[in-house]
């Protein structure tokens, strides 16, 4: 397994998600697509972290920054934030549904001229 494969997987996931976000009419489907985009990013971050930072800890701790698990930490953050964001997004969708009996985002177009 090489780094490139992971990156390609991440890019495909991100692309699928982006397509969903841009094309789906149903707000829930858009949210789900967003999740796929997040996970595309997560795969990329973890893969880069795994492949570019040395895996084994050497005998002497010369440079601590080389053992940072930056990508992993970011991924955990993204998952947490995404969870919160989905909760918020669902709440908004429910609020929209209550006011206009529809969850199609094409119907929410008050900002048009």
């Amino acid at each position: 397994m090489t780094l490139e494969r992971f990156l390609i997987l991440g890019a495909i996931l991100f692309g699928i998600g982006l397509y969903g976000v841009l094309s789906k009419k149903h707000a829930i489907a858009v949210l789900m697509s967003l999740e796929i985009m997040f996970n595309g990013v997560n795969v990329t971050a973890v893969a880069l972290s795994r492949y570019t930072v040395p895996y084994t800890v050497p005998d002497t701790f010369v440079d601590a920054s080389r053992f940072l698990l930056t990508g992993h930490v970011f991924t955990v953050f993204i998952i947490t934030v995404a969870a919160a964001e989905v909760a918020l997004g669902l709440a908004i969708i429910i609020a929209i549904y209550r006011t206009r009996q529809s969850v199609l985002i094409t119907d929410a177009k008050e900002l048009s001229r």
């Binding site: 982006l18 976000v21 841009l22 094309s23 985002i105 094409t106 929410a108 177009k109 008050e110 900002l111 048009s112 001229r113």
Partner: protein, 674 residues
Amino acid sequence: MINEQLVWAIFFIPLASFCLLALLVRPFFNSYSYISGPIAIVSIGISFILSLLTFFEVATNSNHNLVSEPNSWLEIGDFHFTVGILMDPLTAVMLVVVTGVSLMVQIYSMGYMKPSNHGSENAEHHGPEELGKPVYARYFAYMSLFTASMLGLVMAANVVQLFVFWELVGLCSYLLIGFWFHRPAAAAAAKKAFIVTRIGDFGFLIALMYLFFKTHNKGDNYLEISVINANLPGLVDAGLITAGALTLIALGMFVGAIGKSGQFPLHTWLPDAMEGPTPVSALIHAATMVTAGVFLVARFFPIFEHSPDVMLIVTIIGGVTAIFAATMGLVANDIKRVLAYSTVSQLGYMMLALGVGAYGPAIFHLFTHAFFKALLFLGSGSVNHATGTFDMRYMGGLRRKMPITYITFLIGSLSLAGIFPLAGFWSKDEILLNAWDKGDVASIIGFSLALIAVFMTAFYMFRALLLTFEGDFRGGSDKDPEAQAHGPVHLTESPFPMVLPLVILAIPAVIIGFLVNPIKDFGGIPAHWFTHKLEHSLHLPPPPAFDPILAIISSLIALLGILLAWAMYKRNPYLSPATMGRVAGPIYTLFLNKYYVDEVYEKFITGRIYYNGIALISDWIDRNIVDRTVNIIGWLGANFGSLIRELQTGQTQMYATVTSVGIIIIAAVYIFGM
């Protein structure tokens, strides 16, 4: 003993007082506004003490200047604007004058501006929101700001700094002359003062810009006053800038001085400025506003000295103003206007002195004049407090009712008339002596004009004195149809806060002449130390020695003026003013109408040239070029906007698509390069 921080404090304490009064007391604690007087007085009192200490420090310092490093304010490229203090003998003298007179005036204002004071002009002139005490806080706030700006002006080390405070002084005079802004005359006078001095300021500003334009590539920072004075004449001698350029710079500065100091032909604002409260007039005329012009010429004296043409103009303008204003003072009926014309005339003397190169005597006269002129103005306010009018035709017989005011006013008048041995005698004599000694045609003309003005000064001061204090009382505000006060006439001496400054100011009006600048060594005071100190860095020729004959002649002329006034205005005059009026009818009318200068300005310059000439052209330009350009720009915006508006569909996904495509394009450009 005195360091830079303390000198800055002289300026910042009155400024702090202004901020406190204007931003805290007036908006939030108006019902306690009686504290604003003490706040202002204490702050200016501290400044006064510091100024005195600074003055003695400078006077005893063999180095003559207390130098402080300028602080950097603004840097543009390798160009530095700085802020700093220029503390030389001139500044030290001005600090004492400004803070001293301002302190006296503010103590006096405590009595004069008192809301409950009946009979005085302000009692009946509250606008709807001015009823009661707000006047008090606003008044003292402006007074503090006025003092602070003038202090900043005299301390400025740099022309930009100087100009900022120069304009601030103008602004404060506008605010204070128009203090009773609900009175149309006051509002008009304030506007007039502002606009007329603006014309002068414009000349000053052009001079500064021209100076910068000519010198910005000549190495030193030519915005520093000390650098200008030290190096600019040298630049001319070295041929780096032309003598004509220097003349233009000096001329522009003098135009500024003409405006601020009320010299002919921009003197018209000064008499109208009498619409302000009387203590304000005292401050404007004695210490702050009008001396700024003289100060400016004195400050840049090395430049003026280096351009003989401008010195000639200064001499002539000074001499002409001295006599021109004095003639108008002869016939004015308003006691404050008499004093106003006398101020213009005395400022003419100072300009004349500067023009003939008598730097020290000019500042000496500024110094002595500040005290007795403040005294006279405050005295006229005291008279007004009792009678409710400023018109001398409705006064009279106040000598027994107001003895202190009478005696102090008499001292001030004698001093102004130049009677031995009062302060005015010494300074006026120095000026006459120097003008005579210079000896060229312009100086002799100036000298003759000044000598005639001595006669007129003595005459109009004693005319005012006799009309006001002698004879029978002629009814005050009850009789005067134009009087501003509606309270009852109450002929008693003014309250303590008003009398105290009169007495205090009377002392320097007597002694400061020979104490500060004695003609011979006098009890440990070296002869002429004041002028020597001022002139030490100027390399002027040695001053002419005291000439007893000239002194006697000028004194005799002054006495003649007093005699004539006595003959005309005593109880049973030998020469009644009516007879004189018949003999000199047309001249009298000419003087009374102020030579029709106001009419010329209004009818001809404003009406003809401005309204029917320049204004029409600018109107056409405004309508057809400026407005049309603006309309085209607006039309373009509106139409372009309606195109763009079509993109606004409200579909979030479309926006997101556009954004994504944009990012992809940017990324593509970034990755694959262009």
